[in-house]
């Protein structure tokens, strides 16, 4: 962690997260003492609350992709959902910097939070059903995102949707079809188009390639890398797939039972894992 903190002099920090915690249940004073990797559980023995994430801290810089890796239930999605305001954290802070303005994410009211998420964040979920409305056309889904950020010109919306869909290699001729007619990979591309509609400086990707076949996975990952290069979008990639982490992420956090057990440069973590869990994880994948 120390070598990461040395980067504090950089001016292009997008997000700074400090001690983010999320507890499901009423919580007690023993919650954090009796859970975690060393106890092999995230359920508090005293009150039965689930400690989904505790003391998650990291920095994210412009154009950087940060990977969050861990088994299911390790709290990686919870951390991202808190940052996208899908869930409310129990404690912690997150500072988002944008155009020399800074936003203390968890001190804003819910209207301000939604406004910020609508205008500056993008989210791609594992399941397209979460990110897309299947009752409206692919173009309509992208339009919704644009309309949320006050673009109210019909032809401008059409032009932008066409541009985004061709960028993500969905045939623009199929723009007016319902997403349910599309294959899983195409649905995911539409979801990415929707997330990119407003050129967000920060993009969250939650298990975007899980459940897709290998060639489609490769194409989606290529697309994500291209977007990173073109737009300098900062991204947080949540996955349990080491291949995805290796390909995308510059730096990685490894989580288990709600705690960050290891963090650093991705190469370092994959080549020279320090924590026993990470070692097992890397070994099992190779």
């Amino acid at each position: 962690m120390d070598n990461i903190n040395m980067n504090n002099t950089r001016t292009d920090k997008v997000m700074e997260v400090n001690n983010l915690s999320k507890v499901y249940g009423r919580g007690c004073s023993f919650c954090f003492e009796t859970t975690g990797p060393q106890y092999n559980t995230n359920i508090c023995a005293h009150c039965g609350s689930v400690v989904a994430a505790h003391n998650v801290s990291f920095d994210l810089y412009k154009g950087e992709i940060l990977g969050i890796m861990g088994e299911s239930g390790s709290g990686k999605s919870t951390a991202v959902k808190c940052l996208y305001f899908d869930q409310e954290p129990s404690s912690g802070s997150a500072l988002f910097s944008d155009d020399e303005k800074q936003y203390e994410l968890f001190k804003m009211n819910s209207a301000q939070q939604r406004h910020l998420a609508n205008h500056r964040f993008g989210m791609v979920y594992q399941n397209p059903h979460q990110g897309l409305n299947f009752d409206i056309s692919a173009g309509g889904n992208i339009a919704e995102r644009l309309l949320m950020s006050e673009v109210d010109n019909y032809s401008a919306i059409r032009a932008r949707a066409t541009e985004l869909l061709s960028r993500t290699e969905v045939l623009p001729e199929r723009m007016d079809e319902l997403p349910k007619n599309f294959s899983g990979g195409m649905q995911q591309r539409v979801q990415i188009s929707k997330a990119l509609a407003i050129n967000p400086p920060l993009l969250f990707l939650d298990e975007v390639t899980t459940g897709l076949d290998l060639s489609v996975q490769a194409a989606i990952l290529d697309l994500i890398l291209e977007i990173q290069h073109e737009q300098q979008t900062a991204m947080i990639v949540v996955t349990h797939d080491l291949g995805v982490i290796r390909l995308l992420a510059g730096r990685t956090l490894v989580m288990k039972y709600g705690r960050v057990i290891e963090s650093g440069l991705t190469d370092q973590i994959l080549e020279d894992p320090q924590h026993a869990y990470t070692q097992r994880l890397v070994a099992s994948a190779l």
Partner: protein, 305 residues
């Protein structure tokens, strides 16, 4: 009846609550104010919201007009009017728009422009425009609070994609005073622009859904639309590009109803607002009689000369 029920059928507490709700609705233009809709001696959905507003707001010596589908003589209008006459001793009723202090209506706003001293009460079946895009009332309240109507605009977008135009015929979502979007009740698109900067107070009562909202006088009312696909009202042009006219009064500026002539089987068009239609006929007749009397006097002058 008058011995068993107080003036206006409702008890004083009920009337007070409705008046207080109305004041709040006027103070927050377009906001749906909840109220405890009372049981009325007719089924909910038959205009109980509008009826309760009328009963709470009408006073002795005031004049009421009740219309349904633009007509004073349809069953619902006649029944509502006679109920109010029975329970409000000392009020007058009329079919003439210009004579009315209060106008209760459901499907139409009268063609004749309303004045500052008049009040329009609309019966509303579905008060919330967001109900078509968000089933949870909890979430709808948040969307209203934040003026987030992007999903309604997506619906308009989908309409244009599919049909090349916005196909909403009535209940057109309309933004009031730059914030709240209201369901404009089942009035046709034709009547929506009449809400904008209206001189008369327009009140909306939804009895079944227990909501009252208002468009106060001189308030902005903008139908939702896109910058480059503007809102438009119904056009009544025939295949030759001619504006259709009312078969009774020949008016070419009113909202027309289409129906099939039972004898000839042809489509015919007639003013939907019967009072407007009648007044146009009267106007024409008096104009004719004026021209006749002018001609008579001209002839007289000539013969004198």
């Amino acid at each position: 009846m008058s011995t068993a029920y107080p003036f206006g059928f409702l008890d004083e507490y009920a009337k007070k609550e409705i008046r207080r709700t109305t004041l709040k609705a006027v103070a927050i233009p377009g906001y749906q104010v909840p109220y405890s809709s009372r049981e009325m001696p007719m089924g909910r959905g038959f205009g109980t919201g509008g009826l309760q507003l009328t009963l709470a707001l009408i006073g002795e010596d005031e004049t009421l007009k009740v219309i349904d589908q633009g007509s004073d003589d349809s069953v619902n209008a006649v029944n509502l009017r006679s109920f109010i006459e029975m329970t409000c001793a000392g009020i007058n009723t009329t079919t003439k728009t210009e004579q009315a202090d209060l106008i209760q209506s459901r499907h139409r706003i009268p063609e004749k422009v309303l004045r500052e001293d008049q009040m329009l009460i609309l019966q509303v079946p579905y008060p919330d425009p967001l109900v078509v895009v968000e089933p949870s009332e909890d979430k709808r309240k948040v969307l209203h609070g934040e003026a987030d109507y992007s999903r309604l605009l997506v619906k308009l977008y989908e309409d244009i994609v599919k049909f090349n135009e916005i196909t909403i015929s009535h209940r057109y979502p309309t933004r009031i005073n730059n914030h709240y979007v209201i369901d404009s009740s089942p009035i046709p698109r034709w009547d929506v622009p009449k809400l904008h900067q209206s001189k008369a107070l327009v009140l909306f009562g939804a009895g079944r859904e227990k909501k009252i909202y208002a468009v106060p006088p001189y308030t902005k009312a903008e139908p939702l639309a896109f910058e480059d696909v503007p809102f438009r009202i119904e056009n009544f042009t025939d295949n030759n590009g001619q504006r259709r006219s009312c078969q009774r009064c020949d008016c070419t500026t009113s909202f027309l109803d289409e129906f099939i002539d039972s004898k000839t089987g042809e489509k015919v068009y007639q003013c939907s607002d019967t009072d407007w239609c009648n007044s146009q006929i009267n106007l024409k007749q008096s104009n004719q009689s004026v021209t006749i009397s002018e001609k008579v006097s001209e002839v007289a002058e000539v013969s004198h000369g």
